[in-house]
Amino acid sequence: MNFLKIYALGLRHIYLISNSLPRIIDLIYWPTVQIFLWGFISKFFTVGSTYYTDAVGIILTAAILYDFLFRASISYNIMFLEEIWSRNFTNLFIAPIKISEIITALTITAILRTLIGLLPAAALAIPLFGVSIFKLGVPLVFLLLALYIFGVSLGLLVTSGLIRFGPSFENIAWASLFFLAPLGCIYYPIEILPEVLQVVAKALPLVHIFEEMRNILINNTIDWFQIIKSISIAIIYFILGVIVFYMSYFGARIRGTLINMGE
């Protein structure tokens, strides 16, 4: 691994963001809209639901964490799509860089894009709704880590699809997280799901992350086993994502799609 090359790949996206005010605004805009939307919805629920009456802000905290996952994954996909849209894909793949360097650069740069979006939104939620995700304490760092690893894993799987199927896979990139949202038990406990789906949901790190978030906010206790489990599952998905990415890359070399990508 050559960290100067990883830095160069990251720099390409930092330049892209810093050259364009609309891009920065776009990064901040959507998480902020989410905060407003879910802020009002959670206000309504805290009045109407006994489940949430003792823990104002659970839904909003869940929304912020879910948005973190969403941004991590979408950032990853967007950075890859930028190369396709700008028809720079071939230039990149003929440069003397390893696939592992491309994955590392995208993974590291995605956190920057994600934080640009998340931090203003999380800060806004404090004065507007009196909700702070920082109330989760130290476990917040680990929950965010699990979400980030899983978000990047989804990004890897989607970019693998882009390499395999070309730009036509773009719509899946946008829709990927919405498929998982119902199973992730983001806004409700796992018991709400039918039993069969509960088994599937437990194979995702999301359930463990959001169950633990609710546990901390409602019961004021920390279940470290649940947190470790969520990170471990996320890492398994990450490894799977890396394997699929490599397979797609080698498949694309056989099919010859790397040379025409973006056209």
């Binding site: 700008s86 010859g256 790397l258």
Partner: protein
């Protein structure tokens, strides 16, 4: 031989795109790869760039087998320019050159960018976004990117396609003068026969994935009893 292509074959879904081609290129030679659309030129270049995995055969560059050695070691000596691929439009020209300079681990990068900016007359738009440039300017930037690492092997895919005659002539002149000053082996795919006659030491004619003739321009023109390369190309492409 600097580049050796041995029995190279590529099949897509049982359709042969390149069928058992072999050729050698000596160091510092410029070789033209000619042929009608769909004859396998781009697929051949794609295989030599490591973007396409051959179905059979070998590509040996500077005694290293492209499919067996570490890819990035060989690619650091190579570069490629084509009007069909672009640099990120939202980045300035300087930022793009800086990114690619870093990816190719270019030493004294600022100096190299300055050098290429002077040679290719890029100075006045170094701070402009690449997407705002004219086709001719973009072409010069693309050429600068392809020379950023002082490549030992340069693949050029129709470098003057869609350019006006003046800019086309400028690019051809620049490639000629660059070659005089630098050690570089060039494989040029082109449909512009004047360009090929002006730049190439040898040519390889392809048709339907196969090599149908090879030699110097003069040899091939003479062999087919035509007065110029354009007429020879038409005879071979239609024959």
């Amino acid at each position: 031989m600097f580049i050796q292509v041995k029995n190279l074959t590529k099949t897509f879904n049982n359709n042969p795109a390149v069928s058992d081609i072999s050729f050698d290129i000596k160091k510092n030679q410029t070789v033209g790869l000619l042929g009608p659309n769909g004859c396998g030129k781009t697929t051949s270049i794609g295989m030599m760039l490591g973007l396409i995995k051959p179905s059979g055969g070998e590509i040996i560059i500077d005694n290293k087998n492209l499919n067996k050695e570490k890819r990035d070691g060989i690619l650091s000596k190579i570069n490629f320019a084509s009007p069909y691929i672009e640099l990120p439009k939202k980045l300035t020209v300087k930022q793009n050159l800086e990114i690619y300079g870093r990816l190719y681990s270019v030493k004294n990068l600022s100096e190299r960018i300055n050098e290429l900016s002077n040679e290719l007359d890029l100075k006045q738009f170094l701070k402009k976004k690449t997407g705002e440039l004219s086709s001719g300017q973009k072409n010069r930037v693309s050429l600068a990117k392809s020379l950023i690492n002082k490549p030992e092997i340069l693949f050029l895919d129709e470098p003057t396609a869609s350019l006006d005659p003046d800019v086309g002539d400028y690019i051809r002149g620049y490639i000629q003068s660059y070659k005089l000053k630098n050690q570089v082996t060039i494989l040029l795919a082109s449909h512009n026969m004047n360009e090929v006659e002006r730049l190439c030491d040898n040519i390889i004619m392809m048709k339907k994935g196969k090599i149908i003739d090879r030699g110097t321009c003069a040899q091939i023109i003479k062999k087919h009893g035509r007065s110029n390369l354009e007429e020879t190309f038409l005879k071979l492409a239609r024959g």
